[in-house]
Amino acid sequence: MTAALLFWLAGSGLIGLAVYGLIVNPHPLCKLLALNLLGSGVFLLFGVIARRGAAAGLGGDPVPQALVITGIVVAFSATAIAVGLLLRLHGEAGVASIDEEDDAP
């Protein structure tokens, strides 16, 4: 089960890297990339849980594996909407930035 432990560490490290990226990268596209990295780290942890549950002649528990597939699709949907918003914002404002701006006239 060393593979499982190693990939658990990989998943944890990826989540940490994503958190770092979310904090220090101000551009929304960078944040989106970091969120995707965060998601992939979480999915990988779920995969390790599945691997730990190998039984009944299977290499892994199929339930978490199936859930990860659904999760990947949902994450992709979020990315698609975010990229759409990003490009529209770039078109409207000339620069895609989500920094606080004074809304008051």
Partner: protein
Amino acid sequence: METGFDLALTLLLLGVGGWSILARNMMTAVIIFIAYGLLLSLAWVRIFAIDVSLTEAAIGSGATGMLMVIAAHKVGADARRVVHPSRAIHVLAGIVAALVAVGIAALAFVLPGEPQSLAGPVMERLGDSGLGNPVAGVLFVYRAFDTLLEKVVLLLALIGVWSLARDEDWGGIPGFRLFRHHNSVLTLLARSLPPIGFVFAIYMTWAGADVPGGAFQGGTVLAAMWILVMVAGVRKVPRVSSPLLRLAIVAGPVVFLAIGFFGFVMPGEFLAYPQGYAKPLIVVMEIALTLSIGVILGLLIAGPPKGEDAA
């Protein structure tokens, strides 16, 4: 030997993942992210999740990567124009990130020693459905409700992207044309590859009932073929209001819902399959879903409809 490989893969994943976070140039970051996705799908193979590996390669790396390349191409230069945080914030972020990573890593050692698993119960009743792939069993039999709702999520993502069209452009042609590329070699590829891709997509869907694969992986291949054809300009891009396009979008969800409701009639539960008909119904459903997923993915990547004459 195998541990060495896993260790190398772990380090590579962390290194490449970190690189994509730290890269100064946005296009570089995105391209590294795609490579990261491919490495990740290798890791999924190593933990015996072939279905996930295929999905990660197709959606997580491929389709997501394509979206991000488009975004980086358009807004890549913005990075220099936004305010970057100070050095102190970087140090603080590093500390927070390290704490999070170590904390989650430590949880590996406090999870209950005896692993929990539903593998047994899944296999026990998988025979009833006639499916051979337990992951397909979870997705289309036990938790079909999740999968049905996930299709609604996908439709909504399309609504979300389309909502960003300008009113005057509505009903027009999705933005494929913006990256149209006239090139004789590309045209050759766009004429020769799609038949192979189409057969392959159907095969992946069909085989998904018994071995790794399924509607999503097949749908992604279909989407790739469609995008290729559109970008090469071999076929006309349909308008978003085209009835045929709309039919393709809703075909999968309609079949899924219809089969779900038929469950009320026979055998009496929503999303239950009549005895002995589970596998044929699921295959029919998956083929319809492959078409819809392919079209929706293609449209999501193409972006909202653009004006008639903006070339």
